[in-house]
């Protein structure tokens, strides 16, 4: 199958408006004849479900949590970018576009990214109209702050809880449509398969997590907004429930999976304390606006700090290495995430890490507290400082935070074209679960922007074109494909439930995480990846022999839920490694040790790798087949990224 991204012709700034005009429309009176399935209720899913219902479509919305408000978008802290240029500091749609393309290390599509920047301004208007309480200045207008990878202040925020406020806004719009009867909400319901009829997605198979019942749902289109796959690493900043299952099962029904090896390791997270740890906690990137990152200049001092013979405040100013400010004078502590993470790892690798494990660097607010006063710092970051204190039992107002990189976001995901359609007609992917807008590295405060852009302002247009094309005739759940897919799901679950071995599913998950972090994490090599591939294959075989899955299907069964998700993560892990092996260049979050500049920065190979890798599933335990979508740059000149 050829991969046509369907990027509209014409000048960059006119692509989206021309495309919108060319898209077919569904007559207002006909919209109620169409049923749309939306899986996931995070920013992309909730905003899409609400917006489509407002247009008149009948929407069925699904989430595995007990309420749509709990989707993991709720945990996003720092903010949302928009090219409003309210600060008069030189921002524009083109600059946001440019920063995003460059930040993504030239591995995203120009057309998609420009559209994202273009609609970013509408998102802020929409959220404010819903009553989202963004931070404001004393004059009553909206406040902004700066974020990594940009030199303008374009980030809108609501203290350190921006994701929560945006999600509750989308949730409120969703609630309104539920009240009006245009959205039917299914909570505690997990999607386990896609039903494909004559090559088109026509429905899904779900498990009711309260009763275990396997159910089928039909619709004219299926929209996945099921988030990212960071939990393949076991430890990440994702929620425990965040998983790849919906996207992976779609992949196994024919949807290509794009750029799986592009994962984002966030530089400012609270370091790991021990094996019991179930997740890692992010400290918002906004902290780098005022916090200064440093490590001791010598290994001797670092060792004293690790053994707690001295404290951070006893390290003299001249013995501190503010390594980001030193290496990147123009961006300083605000370099993009991949650059900041790699530098922190480098410090630890050189033996200059701090904390008992030596796997941490400092994020110091002493200078900011002196400059701004403790009250101002508290007003800006209070909830983050409290969170840090709660977890570590250390007071960041008195001593520097210890931070270390952790898996945070996955740029890869289901391959979609400009219309957010996967290669399976009728199957769409939005938000983090698609691959489209962030290239090989996402800039801070851009995930919320993309989720809401897809849901509020892209899919309501592009889906209509597909629906108008296929017409209102329904395929309902009596079609044999529904029963067949349902039986497949039941058989698969029974296979899981039959596992009565001697190792828990969590242990397999932790083991997978270790392999991924070690060999497919911040630095990757041909040798390590090859080894990892073998290890994952063995892990998979062992899982299907020795895992323990307790309980039965016809009840609330967390063990079964987890087992299905971990089984999918293991398969995805192998594909990530395959993709990382195949991409013999460094770009953004994908750092191959074999491909770096003299200064240790990611060295791209544009001649050979300026393409999107889209992988096709060809059968159990078969090698996946690679399809390439060439990336064409008509507006931006590809250069070595420099933040000096």
């Amino acid at each position: 199958m050829s991969l046509d991204a369907k990027i509209p012709q014409g000048p960059l700034a006119e692509k989206w408006s021309k495309h919108k005009f060319n898209l077919k429309l569904v007559n207002p009176a006909n919209k109620r004849k169409y049923d749309v399935i939306v899986v996931g209720t995070g920013l992309a899913g909730a905003s899409a479900a609400a917006s489509l219902a407002e247009l008149g479509y009948n929407v069925k919305s699904f989430c595995f949590q007990d309420s749509p408000r709990r989707a993991h978008s709720i945990a996003a802290q720092g903010g949302i970018n928009a090219a409003k240029n309210y600060q008069n500091d030189g921002d524009s749609v083109y600059r946001l576009f440019y920063d995003t393309i460059k930040g993504g290390d030239y591995r995203a599509r120009e057309g998609n990214v420009y559209r994202l920047a273009e609609v970013s301004v509408n998102i802020i208007d929409q959220c404010v109209a819903q009553g989202v309480p963004f931070a404001r200045e004393y004059g009553g207008l909206l406040d902004n702050r700066s974020f990594g990878g940009s030199q303008v202040s374009r980030t809108f925020y609501a203290r350190g809880q921006t994701g929560q406020q945006l999600l509750l806004g989308a949730y409120s719009a969703l609630n309104r449509q539920i009240h009006l009867g245009k959205v039917k909400m299914y909570t505690r319901t997990e999607m386990l398969d896609v039903v494909v009829v004559d090559g088109h997605a026509k429905g899904i198979v779900t498990r009711n997590l309260k009763t275990g019942e396997i159910e089928t749902h039909a619709g004219h289109a299926v929209l996945l907004a099921t988030g990212g796959y960071g939990n393949v690493f076991y430890l990440s900043t994702n929620a425990i429930g965040s998983n790849v299952t919906a996207a992976w099962r779609a992949h196994k029904r024919g949807a290509y999976f794009a750029n799986p090896c592009y994962t984002q390791i966030h530089p400012t997270c609270i370091p790991v304390t021990g094996d019991h740890q179930s997740k890692l906690t992010l400290m918002s990137e906004s902290l780098r606006n005022d916090g200064r990152v440093w490590a001791p200049k010598t290994v001797e001092i670092a060792q004293k700090l690790q053994k707690k013979e001295i404290t951070a405040s006893q390290v003299k100013e001249e013995d501190r290495d503010y390594f980001l400010e030193r290496k990147y004078p123009s961006f300083g502590n605000l370099v993009p995430r991949d650059v900041a993470s790699r530098n922190a790892k480098e410090m630890s690798d050189e033996g200059k890490g701090v904390g008992t494990t030596g796997l941490a660097v400092y994020l110091d607010f002493a200078e900011a507290i002196q400059r701004l006063g403790e009250d101002t710092v508290r007003a800006k970051y209070g909830n983050l400082f409290d969170m840090y204190l709660q977890i570590t039992d250390e007071n960041p107002y008195k001593q520097p935070m210890r931070i270390y990189p952790a898996v945070h976001y996955t740029m890869g995901g289901l391959w979609v074209d400009y219309n957010l359609s996967t290669n399976v007609p009728g199957l769409y992917a939005m938000g983090e679960c698609n691959f489209s807008d962030h290239g090989a590295n996402r800039l801070g405060a851009s995930a919320l922007m993309q989720g809401l852009s897809d849901g509020y302002f892209v899919i309501p247009y592009t889906l209509g074109d597909y629906l108008a094309t296929i017409g209102p005739k329904k395929v309902d759940t009596s079609h044999p494909a529904f029963e067949q897919t349902k039986q497949d799901v039941i058989a698969y679950n029974n296979k899981l439930l039959a596992l009565k071995g001697n190792k828990t599913v969590v242990e397999y998950h932790r083991e997978l995480g270790h392999i991924m972090w070690e060999y497919c994490g911040m630095a990757r090599t041909e040798e390590g990846l090859t080894k990892a591939k073998g290890m994952i294959k063995e892990l998979k075989a062992d899982f299907w022999k020795n895992a323990i899955v307790t309980g039965e299907n016809e009840e609330v069964n967390a063990a079964l839920e987890r087992a299905g998700r971990v089984a999918d993560f293991i398969e995805l892990g192998e594909l990530m490694v395959t993709d990382a092996l195949n991409r013999r260049e460094s770009c953004g979050g994908h750092f191959r040790l074999e491909s770096q500049t003299e200064e240790g920065e990611a060295l791209r190979d544009d001649d050979n790798f300026a393409f999107v890798s889209a992988w096709e599933f060809t059968g159990e335990n078969q090698e996946e087949v690679l399809h390439k979508e060439e990336l064409i740059f008509e507006n931006v000149k590809l250069t070595q990224r420099s933040y000096k």
């Binding site: 709990r70 404010v128 009553g131 404001r136 409120s172 609630n175 009006l180 909570t187 001697n502 967390a558």
Partner: protein, 262 residues
């Protein structure tokens, strides 16, 4: 490792909504003070799983205090003994070696037990669905800076908007009242100019739904405020009551019911 603790847990086990439940005693051994409370339960569940026994079921997701999923009633307190945090943010260093910890689900007729420690809080969603929104469609809204909002008002609205919908307020209240939860949304939108057009219909619709769900009334004990992980204040309830009485006494508007209309 030094400093590790051994604890006794008395945990509420209940197979499903219909079944009757009981306390079952478990040992939690070799617990690190750096673990969160949920990580301690993970350890217990891992050992139960290895014995092919059914793990303890509880709702949890983000594990950073924002999703509102976790919901345990620990030693008589929603989210445990410390103030202003959720169970997932409670660390074992709060407890001492040898302690017995009692763990129950939220207790409220409006929150039926799903299994073990997890309850059905969909009543909260239905209260929000009754009117917890500004009726604007996507698109066609004015520029975000057209309407200046005083910083103090925006900050107050934000404070109310930080409610995570966990239900601790209901669990803490002797009347199982949901007034702190309901009033937080009413106050957020009632303070902001965007919320004014529907201010009085909203309060009536949401209060009516709250009553229909079977939550109790407020008798000003203040347990909800004391136990709220996000420190939502009783002022919200005062704001709601004020708007509710204004609506009933002085306003012509009726609780809005758009179903089938427009």
């Amino acid at each position: 490792m030094s400093g590790h603790m051994n604890l006794t847990l008395k945990v509420w086990r209940q197979k499903n909504t219909q079944a009757s439940g009981k306390f079952v005693t478990y040992k939690a051994e070799n617990i690190s003070p750096d673990m969160s409370f949920l990580e301690m339960l993970d350890v217990v569940n891992e050992s139960l799983t290895r014995k092919n026994e059914e793990p303890i079921y509880f709702d949890h997701d983000c594990r950073e205090g924002i999703c509102g999923s976790c919901s345990l009633y620990i030693n008589g307190h929603p989210h445990g003994p410390k103030r202003a945090i959720t169970t997932c943010q409670l660390h074992m260093r709060t407890f001492s070696d040898g302690e017995t910890i009692t763990i129950e689900p939220w207790r409220s007729a409006a929150f039926p037990v799903v299994k073990d420690l997890a309850t059905d809080r969909s009543a909260f969603d239905r209260i929000q669905q009754a009117g917890g929104y500004v009726s604007v469609n996507t698109g066609g809204v004015p520029d975000a800076n057209v309407m200046p909002i005083p910083k103090v008002i925006a900050d107050e609205a934000f404070n109310s908007a930080t409610c995570i919908g966990c239900g601790a307020c209901v669990a803490a209240c002797k009347n199982a009242s949901a007034m702190l939860f309901t009033s937080a949304k009413i106050t957020q939108l009632g303070l902001l100019p965007q919320g004014q057009p529907e201010r009085y219909s909203r309060v009536q619709a949401m209060v009516a739904q709250m009553d229909a769900e079977g939550f109790g009334n407020c008798t000003n004990t203040g347990a909800c405020e004391a136990e709220c992980p996000k420190e939502i204040t009783l002022n919200n309830i005062a704001f709601m009551n004020n708007d509710f009485f204004s609506a009933k006494l002085f306003r012509e508007e009726h609780a809005h019911d758009q179903t089938g209309g427009e």
